[in-house]
């Protein structure tokens, strides 16, 4: 396990019960990372789980702009994510809301920071804040990408009940 961890480049932590923090350092200047990260034509290449086909319906990167993307599995299941851009400060940070149609009425607020390091690399930190611990855990669970080709509509309820029992 340790060997695997050492070469892993992405770190994920939960700074509090309602947050997830994702960090990764890219070996490229900040503007380049920013451009690659926000290019709607490139998003389908990296944004979704590898097994799913990602389509970008809308991606309007300015305050008040909306975005919507769809992951489709080979059996036709769709996972739709959408939200609104709240703040953009190129090439420093973006704040946006993030919602999944599988969890109606729930949304998180996600801030992506792009920090230029002294050695010319760029640190990307995505901090997601959820309305509750249950929402956050539900989102982590929905990110499970293996072995599941069905929707998870009822999974979050189920998990909440199991944890309560």
């Amino acid at each position: 396990m340790n060997e695997v961890h050492e070469r892993q480049k992405t770190s994920i932590t939960t700074p509090s019960d309602t947050e997830i923090r994702i960090e990764r350092i890219f070996d490229a200047p900040r503007q380049l990372v920013w451009d690659a990260y926000h290019d709607p034509e490139l998003l389908p290449e990296w944004l979704g789980p590898r097994e799913l086909t990602t389509t970008v319906d809308e991606f309007d990167l300015r305050p008040g702009g909306s975005y919507r993307f769809i992951h489709r599995s080979p059996d036709g299941s769709e996972f739709v994510f959408f939200g609104e851009i709240r703040e953009v400060d190129e090439p420093n940070y973006v704040v946006r809301t993030f919602a999944w149609e599988g969890m109606p009425g729930k949304q998180s607020v996600e801030r992506a920071d792009f920090e230029e390091l002294e050695d010319g690399r760029t640190r990307v930190v995505i901090m997601s804040r959820f309305e509750s611990k249950e929402d956050r855990d539900g989102m982590i669970e929905s990110g499970m990408e293996k072995g599941v080709n069905e929707g998870f509509e009822r999974l979050d309820e189920l998990l909440a009940r199991q944890q309560a029992s």
Partner: protein
């Protein structure tokens, strides 16, 4: 790695509406195979197959009392956030690997 395959097994077990319904039902208390089969509109044999998959994933345990088999929620609870988090992390690692390839490509062309 054993840890991940057990997470995979858990999710494979959960990726079926009948099995999720069984777990929900067992959340209210133990039940026999026939008590589980009736609301699912399934044969006993069909339901037993689902229960076996849940048993393999340790989500359910069963005990035989005379001729009936009683089912309970198993030892494996889904509250182990570390398992979830690690799989989530791997998902992001994979995404960022692809983003990194794009960045390398752009670096080469600029």
């Amino acid at each position: 790695m054993v840890q991940f395959s057990s997470v995979d097994r858990t999710f494979a077990a959960l990726a079926d509406p009948t099995r999720r319904a069984v777990l929900e039902r067992l959340g209210d208390g133990p039940a026999t195979i026939s008590e589980l089969a009736a609301p699912a509109g399934m044969s006993l044999t069909g339901l037993k197959k689902h229960v076996r998959i849940l048993e393999d994933a340790e989500l359910v345990t069963t005990e035989k009392h005379g001729r009936t088999r009683h089912c309970y929620l198993g030892p494996r609870r889904l509250e182990d956030v570390n398992d979830w988090l690690e799989t989530y992390r791997r998902g992001w690692d994979d995404r960022f690997d692809r983003l990194e390839e794009i960045i390398e490509r752009k670096k080469g062309s600029s």
